[in-house]
């Protein structure tokens, strides 16, 4: 069959049998999703705000090179001014510098914890979704078990138990970071796992997966090439929401004093330090609170936009 020639289609087809597709440039489903996302105004605006926020915390130290621990009792508890745009705290430390530094940690924790949650969730969900029988049952049982755990007390307990251990292994800041990321991510993968499993169960019955099996594709090829790419939409949406949830969780931990060491500012720990001075220095609590609020709400709005853009019904 080496010399394939076109079948005699023209016998019954004076015009080309196939009309050219509508558009001139091919658009992949991801490009289509991006096009739909761009129409979601709130999500796009949120994306811009979030990007500004990220740019601020990454580039901030170069533009505002003020030390975060420069104590100046002469300028303590000051409101916003040219010298200190967001005011100072009870030790006269510059709040803008501290929030920039804290924002780096908070956002990094959020992203890293999301990655942990998504990776664990996808692996567990994919394993459960591809293997029928007891493996699936056991993994789902594990997922349900984790869902039944009371998160906050467990979070506090784990932090309390392992904090010193991690500090010895990875240093003060690194140890806290890894521990927080692992604990938050490790307690938030269940939704993703369930989602991925449900997607896998429905996708593996799809005819295009059957077609790939009929071509002789290996199981790995089926998962990586055919099932997973089509299951990713909802995972991305869930992952986005997870970033927001992880930021809140980290702030909560820091607020309760179980996050990073107290001399390292994060949005949550700045808020904790501020809580005793609410009536004399409200700005101190207002700015970190606003930062958390802004980050979380823009991420959630983006999640909404992504949900509409990646709606699996529109792709499949």
């Amino acid at each position: 069959m080496a010399g394939l020639t076109p079948a005699s289609l023209t016998a019954d087809a004076p015009a080309p049998a196939v009309a050219a597709p509508r558009k001139n440039r091919p658009t992949s489903p991801w490009q289509e999703a991006w096009r739909r996302f761009r129409r979601h105004r709130l999500a796009v605006a949120s994306g811009v705000v979030l990007l500004l926020l990220i740019a601020a915390v990454t580039l901030g130290p170069f533009i505002w090179p003020v030390a975060i621990n420069e104590i100046d009792f002469a300028a303590k508890l000051q409101g916003p001014s040219w010298a200190h745009p967001l005011g100072t705290d009870d030790l006269g430390q510059d709040l803008l510098a501290r929030l920039i530094y804290g924002g780096r940690i908070s956002l990094a924790v959020g992203l890293a914890a999301m990655v942990v949650a998504v990776v664990v969730g996808v692996v567990v969900g994919a394993l459960a979704g591809m293997s029928a029988g007891w493996v699936d049952a056991a993994l789902m049982w594990l997922t349900d078990l984790f869902l039944a755990l009371p998160l906050l007390p467990l979070l506090l307990l784990l932090m309390y138990l392992f904090r010193d251990h991690f500090k010895r292994m990875f240093g003060v800041e690194g140890g806290a970071f890894i521990l927080i990321v692992v604990v938050i991510g490790g307690l938030r993968w269940m939704q993703v796992a369930r989602l991925v499993r449900a997607q896998f169960l429905s996708l593996r019955e799809k005819e295009f997966v059957e077609a790939a099996r009929a071509l002789g594709a290996s199981k790995l090829r089926l998962v990586v090439g055919h099932i997973l790419p089509n299951a990713l939409g909802p995972v991305i949406v869930a992952g986005t929401i997870d970033v927001a949830a992880a930021i809140i969780a980290e702030s909560t931990l820091s607020f309760l004093g179980l996050g990073f060491p107290s001399d390292i500012p994060t949005w949550g720990s700045v808020l904790r330090d501020a809580k005793d001075y609410l009536d004399i220095a409200p700005h101190w609590a207002l700015f970190p609170g606003a930062a958390i609020f802004l980050a979380v709400i823009t991420i959630n709005f983006m999640g909404d936009g992504l949900r509409d853009a990646l709606d699996p019904r529109r792709v499949l």
């Binding site: 069959m1 079948a7 289609l9 087809a13 099996r213 071509l215 002789g216 090439g225 089509n230």
Partner: protein, 330 residues
């Protein structure tokens, strides 16, 4: 029971007493409470180069039969002999090489193409899986060749399935199946989801390809007029069993089984001047979980007699090449 092809030696594929039972789970402990007899002892042969039509109403097991032949569904029992080897006993390696000989075309042109892949990637996947081409250039050339074979154009390669209409998508699915140069293609309702004018395009294409590459088809469909048009021989299924096998024209001119007869008379004819006596079947197809005893069709059969409920009719050759499973016909 496998001597139904014109000549046994010609048989490319021979199915003997194929059964597939799906477990129905229920109760708190999800134990197997019942079995769906989707395919309940099906036998037929397909000769090289012919088209065997497999017709029947929804739930008769025709699609399950097609998927069992490719081992996309594991059969419960029975034999599937392809070029002298039993497909049901093949290990992973043998199955992999079987995939180069047997392919499938699906009904739904939307669900059967991966929306995330380009048309080129879809059509070319088999080339990668089986290492059929040496270089990237050869890969691309082959994909273009396949696309042109099914009436698409080279520049369609970089597009995605959602940019194509149903008929074009079905062509892509056909090109994918052709990539491995198969001998047998199971066509599972390949035109049912298409518009009338597009159906004709795809049927003509399938016929052209058969002639060009000497393909053998198992053509599964519920539309009897389409099956009659494309098939050499036709097998009629009812509730997991074959009730009649005959050369296409024979079946339409002189159907022997009362079910085939009713099925044929129910097909609307696009000609208002033709007036026919219609055999109206009463009721619905019974539940395949508990199919009727004896002859599965006896509950709806216009000529049923008491013993039809107890004795299972054998498929026997009533006339040369015309097999029927009924106690009182043929």
């Amino acid at each position: 029971m496998s001597n139904m092809a014109a000549n046994k030696d010609d048989a490319l594929l021979s199915v003997t007493d194929l059964r597939k039972h799906f477990a129905v789970k229920g109760g708190v402990l999800s134990r197997v409470v019942d079995k769906v007899h989707a395919v309940d002892g099906v036998s037929f042969d397909i000769a090289a180069g012919e088209t065997l039509g497999l017709v029947g109403e929804s739930g008769c097991g025709k699609s399950t039969t097609g998927r069992c032949i490719l081992r996309l569904i594991e059969p419960s029992s029975g034999g599937i002999w392809f070029k002298g080897a039993d497909v049901t006993k093949m290990d992973a390696t043998a199955l992999r090489s079987l995939r180069r000989d047997m392919q499938i075309i699906f009904q739904d042109p939307y669900a059967s193409l991966n929306p995330r892949l380009t048309v080129g990637a879809i059509v070319g996947e088999a080339l990668t899986i089986h290492n059929l081409v040496k270089s990237r250039r050869a890969h691309e050339e082959r994909v273009v060749q396949l696309l042109e074979t099914v009436g698409l154009q080279a520049d369609h390669m970089r597009r995605f399935p959602h940019e194509f209409s149903g008929g074009q998508r079905q062509r892509i699915g056909i090109a994918r199946a052709l990539a491995v140069e198969p001998k047998l293609i199971v066509c599972d309702e390949p035109v049912s989801a298409l518009d009338v004018s597009i159906q004709a395009q795809v049927i003509n294409l399938l016929e052209d390809l058969q002639e060009q590459f000497g393909l053998t088809y198992l053509f599964i469909a519920h539309d009897l007029s389409v099956v009659e048009h494309i098939s050499t021989r036709i097998a009629v299924m009812y509730l997991g069993r074959v009730v009649e096998i005959a050369p296409a024209r024979d079946l339409y001119d002189t159907p022997l089984h009362p079910y085939s007869e009713a099925l044929l008379s129910a097909v609307p004819i696009p000609d208002p001047t033709v007036k026919r006596q219609r055999i109206m079947l009463q009721g619905d197809v019974p539940n395949p979980i508990n199919p009727p005893s004896g002859c599965h069709f006896h509950t709806r059969c216009p000529i049923a007699k008491p013993d039809c409920a107890t004795r299972v009719p054998e498929l026997r050759e009533s006339r040369p090449g015309h097999w029927v499973s009924c106690h009182y016909r043929g």
